[in-house]
């Protein structure tokens, strides 16, 4: 196989890499770029541990080819804190003990950040549905959901207009 040359932006840093055409973005991040914060829990898009944001859209890095990253803007857990300043979600996860083993934590943080950027006042149900693609086996989700709701509360500014609800759900 011929490797493909890719230029992209990761957490605001111009990044170039070459990869095999069938390598996933997750393989590239972890094995070529040494960014092991995104985890592989399943490799099939079922666990969300590899959640990253591509051009503003939350995706599983295991379900995207590295080749598709050309010219995109990618955000990973490694870029979530602003220098020494933690993102409010990161701080709340610590405060609420919203992690036990911590392997799902990067994915949850990236996914929750993406939610709060769209909806600064989510209901508990909206948080739970938005995060349904992130599996956690340690916490039973309780403290994670509380941490996200508490972050939203803190981050909310009264003047800020509300964007449309994150995801609507129909129940059978």
């Amino acid at each position: 196989m011929f490797q493909i040359q890719i230029s992209t932006s990761i957490n605001g840093d111009d990044t170039e890499f070459s990869c095999e055409p069938d390598e996933t973005l997750l393989d590239v991040l972890r094995d070529r770029l040494g960014m092991t914060g995104s985890k592989e829990g399943c490799g099939t898009g079922d666990c969300g541990a590899c959640s990253v944001v591509v051009d503003g859209r939350l995706v599983c890095a295991c379900l995207m080819l590295g080749a598709e990253a050309q010219g995109r803007e990618i955000e990973t857990i490694e870029g979530m804190a602003d220098g020494t300043e933690l993102h409010p979600l990161q701080q709340k996860f610590l405060d609420h003990a919203a992690l036990q083993c911590g392997v799902c934590t990067p994915g949850f943080l990236v996914a929750a950040k993406s939610l709060l950027e769209r909806n600064d006042n989510p209901t508990e149900e909206e948080v739970r549905y938005w995060l349904a693609g992130n599996l956690c086996r340690c916490t039973g989700y309780d403290k994670i959901v509380r941490a996200v709701l508490d972050t939203a509360k803190d981050m909310r500014k009264p003047a800020k207009a509300k964007k449309p609800a994150a995801r609507k759900r129909v129940k059978a």
């Binding site: 196989m1 095999e20 972890r30 040494g34 960014m35 092991t36 914060g37 985890k39 592989e40 829990g41 399943c42 490799g43 099939t44 079922d46 666990c47 541990a49 990973t76 857990i77 490694e78 979530m80 804190a81 933690l86 990161q90 996860f93 610590l94 405060d95 609420h96 003990a97 992690l99 036990q100 083993c101 911590g102 392997v103 799902c104 934590t105 990067p106 943080l109 508990e124 149900e125 948080v127 739970r128 549905y129 995060l131 349904a132 693609g133 992130n134 599996l135 956690c136 086996r137 340690c138 916490t139 039973g140 989700y141 309780d142 403290k143 994670i144 959901v145 509380r146 759900r169 059978a172």
Partner: protein, 750 residues
């Protein structure tokens, strides 16, 4: 200086213990820099992949690896031939990590390759030619026990019978526990209910697949980096399998992405080590999710009969259970613990539990949070619930009436020490949840659970730095925040702020032997050892103070982080803080450290009571969990947030087990659902908040009263949910998981 259970008084006033301090590994885990099993690389590293049997049961006639070896980039191929003689106690492990002669389950490893890229390794795997002779297989526990079942191991003769049988079978061992005259007990009952239950195998479902990086040189020395609940166990087993000196192998425990018992054994580490030895290069092996589900260690699937007699006033007159646990292709299911734990919540005059350890063509089961107990509790608590409903008795009152209490004789033999079952029942009784109104198609379930909790071999080292800060090395991998708890106990004992103590997990070369992180033992045993190590260091610091003051050491006492004269008679001396003494350590006799090496005794058993409300959709059989409250005895909650976390996590794993998680085998003996798509662990939207009520009945065996909390929380949910669904549906559920088709069938709608 070590704590003497039963002699020393328990500490009840705390400064650090009981507070919700930030965790020492927190920052690494929220920024993505924590290093888990698969996150480590080494110079010259190769990728290892494992070829697995597609057959449930097959003779391996031959394996031809020549074409695989010829692939460019391939540096080593191993099969069972690469694992030589080994001690008897690891024979089954040797066979489980690499099939010898026969593949015993779908997913059983048969060969492995190491190559410079994953692509090359993948290509090589495809070129390994295995000639199988497919044999008849059996995966169901009841089928496996039948005389007509295919025999999996012709050398297996049932143990534990009066006479060892002459014919081999799939029943490895029979166990019996109990006391009193069960038949006489049933005669005294006003109502006797007898039911048979079945539970399907579940998986621990840790999000991090097994991963390791092994490096083995031709000089006989090796290193392993891996995610494990016990790196000393990895060292012992791997060195035994590879025929090397234990101390020549250093194992470092990475951060571990969940274990729940599933990482208390080895699957890939010896294979990676063998590949590394052959290639003379470091080798990384990472399981895929499918490999985790097919070839690590799920729970037993079970079939259980329970018979219980009750008087009209709610007194249980006798209990009898027969438990059949299939534990995969090797003996060693969790049935003895199931049989021991089945009736542990009840103080019974007549009780019997008989267990059968059964083998089948499935992966060798591994521990999963209170191994064996949830299924047994499910069966027993279901029957107790049915008796309560039939006799129109309050399920909490009946449990209070029959509950095990201090000094009562446990169903598995010994007498209980101080226990907290009643306290959890009382807490449930007075909780608003118990009185909340239920709507249409809704039901409330109650169930209790028990786990033994362990102590075990533990070694801790505590080093006082010249600046008055403390390094604490423990040897029990941290699977849920134990570094915070153990560090806080050391800080409490030393009388210094928690953030002056840094607790780490030391590698196998740096610390004495430690048993694995299992049996809810770590906060208890490593905590106890840390307290003892702190006391050891305090003793030394008191000696230094005594020397500086020129008074006898027994005239020095340690209080609030400083050495002080113990009485006015000892003279007037300004207290010397830990930092003061540390600063002069070199000049007063050298470095100061404290140690503790013990086989920790005095672990206190733990009980829990769970309350759950569910709603059943009568048209679809879908079950929604509406409200869930856990009441559990923690003895003393060192870090309440992580105690709550254990309660919540265990409850939710139990909810998954009760409702949707199951191993599904096809007619061909292959696992049908080896992925998180169809192995359905609960997702966030399936659940309500899980209320956690911490009950504290101090364990006299720990200086602060700690009881293990990790495991008991998964014992009651199966029964609690089933009792709730049975109430909502108006029909007794007797099979797990209660998937929608099963519920709808029980409702008579299909």
């Amino acid at each position: 200086m070590n704590f003497q259970p039963g002699k020393d008084t328990l500490k009840r006033e705390f400064k650090t213990v009981g507070t919700r301090t930030p965790r020492p590994d927190g920052l690494d885990k929220i920024t993505g820099r924590a290093q888990f099993g698969a996150d480590m690389t080494a110079p010259g590293m190769l990728w290892g992949l494992i070829l697995r049997s597609p057959h449930a049961h097959a003779r391996i006639k031959s394996i031809d690896t020549s074409k695989a070896e010829a692939v460019n980039g391939v540096h080593a191929v191993v099969t069972s031939a690469d694992f030589g003689p080994c001690p008897d106690d690891v024979l089954d492990v040797r066979e489980n990590v690499m099939a010898r002669g026969k593949a015993l389950y779908d997913g059983h490893a048969v060969a492995a390759v190491a190559a410079t890229s994953r692509a090359a390794a993948k290509q090589a795997l495809k070129l390994i030619k295995v000639d199988y002779q497919v044999l008849p297989h059996v995966t169901d526990v009841d089928e496996a026990m039948k005389p007509s079942a295919p025999i999996i191991n012709s050398k297996l003769f049932t143990k534990g019978l009066e006479k060892t049988p002459r014919k081999p079978s799939n029943v490895a061992e029979r166990f019996e526990f109990g006391h009193g005259d069960v038949e006489a007990g049933f005669e005294q009952a006003d109502l006797v209910v007898e039911r048979t239950f079945k539970t399907e195998a579940t998986h621990q479902g840790y999000i991090e697949p097994h991963a390791c990086l092994a490096s083995m040189g031709t000089d006989g020395k090796g290193d392993i980096w891996c995610c494990t609940q016990g790196h000393f166990m990895v060292r012992q087993v791997c060195s035994a399998l590879l025929g090397m000196d234990a101390s020549a192998l250093r194992v470092t425990a990475s951060e571990i992405g969940g274990g729940f018992g599933g990482k208390t054994t080895v699957f890939i580490e010896p294979v990676a080590l063998a590949l590394s030895l052959k290639a003379n290069r470091p080798v990384k092996v990472v399981m895929s999710r499918a490999e985790v589900l097919r070839a690590s260690g799920p729970t037993s699937s079970t079939s259980i009969d329970v018979k219980i007699g009750m008087k009209k006033d709610g007194t249980i007159t006798a209990g009898d259970a027969t438990l059949r646990y299939q534990g995969g292709a090797f003996p060693g299911s969790a049935v003895p613990y199931g049989a021991m734990a089945a009736f542990a919540c009840y103080d019974l005059k007549a009780v019997r539990a008989v267990g059968y350890d059964v083998i089948a063509n499935r992966p060798k089961q591994a521990a999963y949070r209170a191994p064996g107990a949830p299924m047994a509790a499910y069966a027993v608590e279901s029957v107790v619930d049915e008796l309560c409903r039939e006799l129109k008795l309050d399920p909490l009152e009946v449990r209070l009436k029959n509950a095990s209490s201090d000094g009562s004789k446990a169903s598995y033999g010994p007498n209980f020490d101080v226990i907290g079952l009643r306290a959890t029942l009382e807490a449930a009784k007075t909780h608003p949840h118990y009185r909340a109104k239920l709507g249409r198609n809704q039901g409330r379930g109650v169930a209790c659970g028990f786990w033994f909790n362990f102590g075990g071999e533990t070694s801790v080292s505590l080093n006082v730095s010249a600046d008055g800060t403390v390094g604490l090395s423990v040897g029990t991998p941290d699977i849920g925040g134990s570094r915070a708890s153990i560090g806080n106990m050391a800080a409490e004992e030393l009388g210094i702020p928690h953030d002056k103590v840094r607790c780490i997990i030391a590698d196998t070369a740096s610390l004495g032997y430690n048993d694995v992180t299992d049996g809810s033992r770590v906060t208890f045993a490593s905590g106890l050892a840390a307290i003892n190590a702190a006391r050891d260091a305090i003793g030394k610091m008191c000696e230094r103070a005594a020397g500086l003051w020129g008074i006898p050491v027994d005239a020095v006492t340690w209080e609030d982080g400083a050495a002080r004269p113990s009485s006015p008679n000892a003279g007037k001396h300004e207290p010397l803080t830990l930092a003061d003494i540390a600063a002069q350590a070199g000049a007063t006799g050298g470095p100061i450290s404290g140690h503790c090496e013990i086989n920790a005794e005095g672990a206190g058993v733990s009980f829990a009571t769970h309350l759950v409300d569910t709603e059943v959709d009568p048209d679809t059989g879908h079950v929604k969990v509406l409200r869930y409250t856990v009441f559990q005895d923690a003895g003393k909650a060192i870090h309440p947030s992580y105690v709550e976390g254990q309660f919540q996590g265990g409850a939710v794993q139990g909810i998954g087990w009760a409702l949707n998680e199951e191993y599904i085998y096809g007619e061909d003996g292959r696992l049908q659902n080896p992925g998180f798509l169809d192995y359905r662990i609960p997702v966030a939207s399936d659940l309500p908040m899980i209320d956690a009520v911490i009950v504290e009945v101090p364990n006299p065996g720990h200086p602060y009263g700690v009881r293990g909390v990790g495991e008991t929380s998964i014992v009651p949910p199966l029964a609690a949910i089933s009792n709730s669904v049975s109430g909502a549906a108006g029909v007794r559920m007797t099979e797990l998981p209660m998937s929608p088709p099963r519920v709808l069938k029980a409702l008579g709608r299909i």
